[in-house]
């Protein structure tokens, strides 16, 4: 079952007296530092992740501690980066390969999908690929069509890949540690627009299991499922709608593979309505999967058609007016959910 932990969450009783507030990007750096200290087989490769500390500051300070052997700046060779991650993982290392932008992972799909995700299966369990693929997704400041996409749904389609899409600093740290310690290839996909956001993170050691969602806000009228940055927009929208008398339950699955199906089905059984807010496209995407699951397993629980609030089906546009229109805004979530409640 899902935990209950809202976005402004984590009261001291939840995370301990040693709690402090750090940013989403700092939470990732902490996880890396702790895991690299704990396990010498962990190393990190990517472009600009050495002395520079990463385009997002996502490896800031690590080079000084771990040096160029374990923080390996690479040429721009995404296919080789992924393939070498696969080979190193097969050879018992624990590589983290950072592509900085999720868009660039597209250069590597053959290695990721035909090699990383399949080797354990087709070797009958003999080969393990403990590989963490790290990349940032999502729109930010009109980064344009080649640096803004949220292609995480692609990877849900592939048996053998785990897919993590954290919304909060607490989740970044706990889930990244779980990803590094695991034995499977994991897509660890952060949102560019969240890197500077802050939240409470305990000082003491913790990890977060995959497949365990969080109820960010309890409600009784409608279930709103969201991941990554959309969790924050969903929470803002829920607050606005509460003032209008609509009680929204916000569920953040945190990992989309594995997916906490029970939590979503349980919530829909309670509210009778399902909305998915998603920065990925609707077509064959995360939202389609959630809608299909509910249609297959809980159609009788629905009092109204499922509503999907997704990126509109166009490449990611540059101009702020287009960019803002194509991706789901808080206002659009409020408008569409309110309209749906008229059913």
């Amino acid at each position: 079952m899902a935990e209950t932990a809202p976005v402004e969450q984590a009261t001291p009783s939840q995370v301990g007296a040693n709690e402090r507030t750090i940013s989403y990007v700092e939470a990732g750096v902490e996880a890396l530092r702790e895991e690299m200290r704990r396990d010498p087989s962990v190393f990190y490769i990517g472009t600009g992740i050495g002395p520079r500390g990463g385009n997002w500051q996502q490896t800031r300070g690590l080079w000084a501690e771990f040096g160029e052997e374990r923080l390996r700046d690479t040429p721009i060779s995404e296919l080789a980066m992924m393939g070498m991650g696969v080979g190193a993982a097969m050879a018992s290392s624990r590589p983290i390969v950072d592509f900085v932008f999720l868009d660039f992972v597209l250069e590597t799909m053959a290695q990721l999908i035909q090699q990383a995700s399949t080797a354990h299966y087709i070797s009958n369990g003999k080969i393990k690929v403990p590989l963490v693929v790290r990349a940032a997704m999502g729109g930010i400041r009109s980064a344009g069509p080649h640096h803004s996409h949220s292609f995480y749904s692609f990877f849900m389609h592939i048996p053998g890949l785990k897919v993590v899409v954290p919304a909060l600093p607490y989740d970044v740290k706990g889930l990244l540690k779980t990803a590094i310690r695991g034995a499977n290839p994991v897509m660890f996909l952060e949102h560019k627009g969240l890197y500077s956001s802050k939240g409470p993170v305990p000082r003491e050691e913790y990890t977060i299991p995959f497949g365990k969602s969080v109820v960010r806000r309890e409600g009784k009228d409608v279930t709103l499922v969201a991941v990554s940055q959309m969790v924050l927009r969903a929470m803002d929208a829920a607050e606005v709608m509460a003032q209008g008398g609509i009680s929204v339950e916000v569920i953040d699955p945190r990992t989309v593979v594995p997916l906490d199906r029970e939590a979503i089905l349980g919530s829909v059984a309670k509210t009778g309505r399902l909305v998915i807010a998603d920065e990925a496209y609707a077509n064959c995407g995360f939202s389609a999967e959630i809608a299909a699951m509910v249609a297959e397993e809980a159609l009788e629980d629905l009092d109204a058609p499922v509503r999907r609030i997704c990126a509109l089906p166009a490449p990611h546009a540059f101009s702020p007016s287009l960019d803002g229109y194509l991706r789901p805004s808080t206002e659009r979530i409020v408008r569409e959910v309110t309209e749906m409640m008229k059913h």
Binding site: S41, F43, E69, R70, R72, T74, P75, S77, E78, L79, A80, M81, M82, G83, M84, G85, V86, G87, A88, A89, M90, A91, S92, S93, P95, A110, Q111, Q114, Q115, A119, H120, Y121, I122, S123, N124, G125, K126, I127, K128, P130, P159, G160, K162, G182, A183, N184
Partner: protein
């Protein structure tokens, strides 16, 4: 190079084992009992044999769709390999992989591979792991001429060269990528010369001369093991059969050309060379052939009787936990 009798006989045994394995695979396939597609290594045995003779059991190999020879030379048993070609539980991957996807980490085999050039960065990554662990292991990636114009070749070799990784890149240039003549795919058909672009040694060798392959591979493996970085080896070779069983291999190659290459057969060549030089006796080669045929026949008997995996196990091993 020090050529001992033991070495001659060991190289001969491995080449004959690969040849007999492939011919047995051909026979079973043509009888209609083998699923899938197989790409045979007949004619190219000297490359896997001469290179892998230098490797430790824990050294790594990545290979290709034409990978049975590399798997056998690295230490996968003919029985586990043939059972895998049959898609059965006694196969090295329990029947999940098949001909183009043989894995056996116990002998360092990180996969033959159905996707051209994919093994190149994987080998570089295994070499990176070995370097970081200071294990002294070396990785070898085998690939065909068809791989050298794919992105993985450039990116993988460049990064391995940049980081001085302990890896040897072995191009088995058999002159055709499927049916496409290599000379129609690039202006520069000298693969070894491309090493210059990456600042590493490049060496071209007669791939039908197992002693020549053995000698040059020894230098490349030693260089890698000493931490001096990769070498690009180009072995000029030829597949005596078609691209896969079912392709006669003569629609795009002249019969004369095929016959000409068969005269250079590395197995016969080693035997003749050894007899002429009195390194070994006829009888010793015959003994090896008899032993190998028995092993292959036994492997076939097991593989043909081994059951396919239970359908209900189809979802096992998608994830590791």
């Amino acid at each position: 190079m020090n050529i001992s009798k033991d070495l001659i006989l060991a190289l001969y045994r491995t080449m004959v084992e690969i040849r007999e394995f492939e011919l047995k695979g051909y026979e079973i396939y043509r009888s209609g009992r083998m699923p899938g597609f197989i790409h045979l290594y007949v004619g190219e045995e000297a490359v896997a044999t001469g290179v892998i003779a230098h490797l430790r059991q824990d050294d790594y190999v990545t290979s290709t769709h034409r990978g049975h020879g590399h798997a056998l030379a690295k230490g996968v048993s003919p029985r586990a390999a043939l059972a895998e070609l049959m898609g059965t539980v006694e196969g090295c991957c329990g029947g999940r992989g098949g001909s183009m996807h043989l894995y056996e980490p116990a002998v360092g085999l990180l996969g033959t591979n159905g996707v051209v050039a994919s093994g190149i960065p994987i080998a570089a990554g295994a070499a990176l792991s070995a370097k970081l662990r200071r294990s002294g292991q070396v990785a070898v990636s085998f690939f065909g001429d068809g791989a050298v114009n794919a992105g993985g070749f450039h990116e993988g070799i460049n990064m391995a060269a940049t980081w001085d990784l302990p890896v040897v890149f072995v191009c088995e240039n058999n002159l055709y990528g499927t049916e496409m003549p290599f000379k129609q795919t690039t202006k520069n058909t000298n693969v070894a010369s491309r090493a210059q672009s990456y600042g590493i040694p490049g060496v071209q060798v007669d791939g039908e001369d197992v002693l020549a392959v053995y000698e040059k591979a020894g230098e490349a493996v030693e260089r890698a093991r000493q931490g001096k970085g990769p070498t690009l080896m180009e072995c000029l070779t030829y597949r005596f059969l078609g691209h896969h069983v079912g392709d006669p291999g003569t629609t795009y190659r002249s019969k004369d050309e095929v016959e000409e290459w068969k005269k250079r057969d590395a197995i016969q060549r080693l035997r003749e060379q050894a007899l002429t030089s009195k390194w070994a006796h006829e009888k010793e080669f015959e003994t090896i052939e008899g032993e190998v045929r028995r092993v292959i026949d036994e492997a076939a008997a097991v593989a043909l009787k081994s059951p396919e995996p239970l359908a209900e196990t189809a979802l096992d091993h998608v994830f590791c936990d």
